[in-house]
Symmetry: C2
Subunit: 330 residues, 2 copies
């Protein structure tokens, strides 16, 4: 049994606790939290709860520690620090900062003989692998990229941006892919899209009593980077309606690449990878658990240092043996 | 530059020659053929053509030899034999015989210090990886498998079966997935399908003058394994029409898995991987080239023996460095 630890018990950490139960070769061995541990119920979680500050004391109890903090403020410090005591895996998703994060985590894990897998989940993660496969199999110097569409789903960053507007009590923002744009990509050619042509944004907003809804709507629609480049719909709803109809965290998306083959490039080949998720954090947690198995195996082989999903052979994700996967899945 | 060799210059071998041109880090270094080499034009191919019987003489000229023979009669002997002199890759696709093929190729390649990657392409190959990912990320003991739909596309095995019927001059068989069944899988639950509920078969048949078309149609529709379990449509066409409208080799398909997450399994997560291919052999050849790069890298690391796509880390498929893929693709 692989002994899994969780550091940080929010949406993602709870998702990991659930996903561990689905994997017969894993058990939850402990939860590290910044909160007072007595606020979490060990018996409900089914594992001991320890203060994060005591992390170094529990390294012997855990084979792989899954870091469930946020990318903005938690993981940049947490992953390099915990990689000194544990084999770790995180879902660091600030794309532009990945090289810097990698370097720091690589140093900490290599110096202390640990395995650390960063930026795991579905994007970065499974979508990254889909991009790499598509572009390696269908190379084309003139069209180096894959097309990415996200949603329909809740963007937490955009929801937070709306919540920061004065007069807003709560809000939820959905990113919606433009289906006709996806069709256009499937039909071949390499269309150039503006942000507006690829995604729509729909907001559900709870305003304070007496707030100026018109100016809130304008503040949303004109917000640079977040909304001004998109067609945005703003719906004002009651707090009850928001909690009832919009409490889920669905998400998903599609990676598509078309390429040409043949003597005169007469044939079109299309690769498409699509996720439709009712729960973004629970699915991300499921991906983390499969990769935690790979981290465990790499630790047994002493392949120390920082890794990404690009470094993991598919076989290491499966609980089955090499013989079994060749016989059943190949 | 990775020096690629091709053994067998049929549809797949020609596809490899084209795919090599798309990969800036590869060049075609030679073609081995069972035919009289003078029947192939070295200048058109852009590389020397050698008799297959002289294979052992050219091992020094080639980094990775891509074996483009058929699975039924060529590859079972060819791959273990050539893996004694070359780093090789094949597309052996007789699923039930893969363990036996693996064992023979593993012995030959291990004994002689070569890398051999077998059963590469899209199924087995990319679809195998999609199955392994989906089942490792969304484990469910009660629903262990992924759903597979093939087509729309030409099945060469079924086309050959029709051609063997007396009175048939030529034929082409299309496998068509039943879209409503795909929708049913996407909508969750774990429907059980009969073969008839998942795929339809459509045949275009050229009959001899004076042949009994009715009995040919009956012979097709009642053929066990190939057609009797499916709704089959038979269209008689002229040889001209067959050559004009049905000379392509399109194919493709979809791997879908849905899983449940959440405390009460209340959330549905869906993973879908889809290929739409105008040319089955040219796409397969493109996959083989990307994996030839991985075989080359494994040979430099002296990771000898038989491998499958499950053993290859995604990073080894890309011409880019580790730093580049982390910065651009993660």
């Amino acid at each position: 049994m692989i002994r899994i630890g969780i550091a940080g018990y929010g949406n993602l950490g709870k998702g990991v606790a659930l996903a561990v139960r689905k994997n017969p070769d894993m058990r939850l061995a402990g939860v590290l939290t910044r909160r007072d541990p007595s606020q979490l119920s060990s018996s409900e979680i089914g594992a001991p709860v320890w203060p994060l500050g005591d992390a170094a004391l529990h390294a012997k109890d855990i084979d792989v520690l899954i870091l469930c903090g946020g990318s903005a403020t938690d993981l940049p410090g947490m992953t390099p620090a915990l990689a000194r005591d544990y084999h770790v895996i995180d879902s660091f998703d600030t794309h532009a900062s990945i090289p810097d994060h990698f370097a720091k985590v690589d140093q900490a894990s290599t110096e202390t003989g640990h395995v650390a897998l960063i930026s795991c989940g579905w994007d970065p993660g499974l979508f990254s692998i889909a991009r790499l496969f598509a572009q390696s199999i269908l190379p084309d110097a003139e069209n180096p990229d894959s097309y990415m569409f996200w949603g329909p789903g809740v963007s937490q960053g955009h929801s937070d941006a709306v919540r920061r507007i004065p007069g807003v009590i709560d809000a939820r923002q959905y990113t919606i892919p433009v289906e006709t744009a996806i069709e256009e990509v499937r039909n071949g050619g390499y269309p150039k899209f503006t942000p507006r042509q690829k995604h729509k944004r729909v907001c559900y907003v709870v305003a304070e009593a007496g707030a100026d809804k018109k100016s809130i709507e304008t503040a949303i629609k004109e917000m640079p980077n977040y909304f001004s480049d998109y067609d945005t719909t703003v719906n004002f709803v009651s707090l009850e309606e928001l909690h009832e109809k919009h409490r889920g965290l669905p998400h998903g998306g599609t990676v598509i690449r078309t390429g040409r083959t043949g003597n005169t490039e007469e044939h079109r080949e299309t690769i498409e990878f699509k996720l439709s998720l009712d729960s973004n954090p629970e699915f991300t947690a499921s991906v983390l658990c499969a990769y935690a198995r790979a981290v465990y195996r790499l630790s047994l082989r002493k392949c120390f240092g920082c890794k990404t999903v690009f470094d993991i052979a598919p076989a290491d994700l499966s609980p089955l043996s090499g013989e079994e996967i060749r016989a059943k899945l190949l």
